[in-house]
């Protein structure tokens, strides 16, 4: 398989996979159960989801390790299984992908704040991510994806952790923004300009945004990102904001709607387009079609 960064440098546009958490819920994940617990006893389910996204046309498949840092796992008393949880997730996706897609190791926030406004020392943050990313890389991921970040410092320490593990592995870093009257900001007050520049300086190879917004806001976010960075941009949109219908979360954006609006991302020159919460293989199939038809 050609190296990801070479393809991006050549101007390729790649389709990534869609949601994991909402897919797991449909496959038996209980409310309150950590999604990563499936990595211990349901790797067949992970493999199945990866296959579905592959056949929908995704070229980047993420591991089910979003909350698999030691700090996050400790909130479920699973920290002793950090190695097994990360390794199994990679192996499941690799088994399905068989060199047809890039395996991307997902690293989400720890859920803890860094000093002075939180309790975690910067060095501990770096170590926590270095540990998780070390396991992911040893197990054979092709890319690291640091995602859904709201604190630029935490994202920076995660990128540092990745770089301690490997200077060559491609690192994608995305943040989640809210639409405020003053523009897009993360909960911690990071604007898009600051995010784009900060993530680039920290050493990310691909920057962008995931989660928190539907496709229309994501087009606006992508546009702003591209003003402030020359790095390839990745966008993974939610299928809108979920509504609760008969005690079930329903995401309003259909595959067709998303694919149509994703035209905005394609014409901006976004490098990787994928889905986040609420998206399904049907959304990815629609995105795939939109991307292929644009390339003619």
């Amino acid at each position: 398989m050609r190296k990801l960064l070479e393809r991006l440098a050549a101007g390729d546009l790649l389709v990534a996979d869609g949601a994991m958490g909402t897919m797991l819920m449909e496959r038996g994940l209980h409310i309150g159960q950590p999604p990563e617990s499936f990595n211990l006893d349901h790797t067949d389910v992970l493999e199945g989801i990866a296959r579905e996204y592959l056949s929908a046309g995704a070229e980047i498949i993420q591991t089910n390790t979003f909350g698999a840092s030691r700090l996050k796992l400790s909130q479920y008393s699973l920290e002793k299984q950090v190695e097994e949880i990360n390794k199994n997730a990679v192996l499941a996706v690799k088994k399905a992908a068989t060199e047809r897609a890039y395996v991307s190791g997902s690293c989400g926030p720890t859920g803890k704040f860094i000093k002075p406004y939180g309790e975690i020392e910067p060095q501990e943050m770096v170590d926590v991510f270095r540990e998780q990313i070390g396991i992911l890389v040893d197990a054979g991921v092709d890319i690291i994806c640091i995602e859904t970040m709201i604190d630029l410092q935490e994202a920076t320490y995660a990128i540092k952790g990745a770089r301690r593990v490997s200077s060559s592995i491609p690192v994608m870093a995305t943040m989640t923004f809210e639409n405020t009257p003053k523009g897009f900001y993360t909960v911690m007050g990071v604007g898009i300009e600051e995010a784009a520049k900060g993530l680039e300086i920290a050493g990310a190879d691909v920057v962008g945004s995931n989660c928190g917004n539907g496709i229309e806001n994501m087009v606006l976010i992508a546009k702003e990102f591209m003003q402030y960075t020359r790095l390839p941009v990745i966008i993974q949109s939610n299928a809108g904001k979920p509504e609760l219908i008969r005690d079930k979360a329903v995401y309003p954006e259909t595959p067709d709607f998303m694919a149509e609006k994703a035209g905005g991302l394609i014409s901006l020159g976004v490098s990787i387009i994928g889905g986040c919460c609420g998206t399904t293989p049907a959304h990815i199939r629609a995105l795939r079609k939109a991307v292929d038809s644009c390339r003619g």
């Binding site: 309150g32 007050g189 979920p242 609760l244 979360a249």
Partner: protein, 212 residues
Amino acid sequence: MDLLQDISVALQDGNCEKVEALVRQLLSAKVLPKDVLDKGLIAGMNVIGEKYKNHEIFLPEVLLAAKAMYKGMDVLRPLFLKDEIPTLCKVVIGTVQGDIHDIGKNLVAIMLRGAGFDVVDLGKDVPAEKFVEVAVQEKASVIGMSALLTTTMPAMKEVVERLKKRRLDGKIKTIIGGAPVSADYARHIGADAYGYDSVNAVEWVKKLTTQS
């Protein structure tokens, strides 16, 4: 008194040491603890709340200010207990069962304390029965529930229904919040209020505790 204003400013800057020192200084100058709380700490948190609401500041500044507020309150608390000065009503708060996202809930707890409420924080992943039990034990006036995951929202309904079953609805008011939650959902499950952000939640809790 200018020193009270200084407390408010030091709190807004998140300067823990200065807040603590000023509180001690005012107390030794015989300023009433209640005034130090109201005109110093609470006044400062009001400004923080307002600025946060208007997106002039973000979470880090609020967290730092809260740390300073707690430093000041630690000094005042023994005096309140000794003098049995009545504080505002008690609020039991937590993130509902199945959900471990507590940033929003913590923020509401900060703002409620900053407004003078006595907050019992049950943390995250709180079972429905625990909300009710603790609220009864603590003679709380309000239960505040938070959820970030759409899938955990039905847990809010369960708390409201348990209150009804025990005929405590009306006596113990309920307020809900969190990214996926809406005023419609609050009406739908019979909760008394929906706070769209932390400042709005405090406004609602004030209303709920003054009407009955």
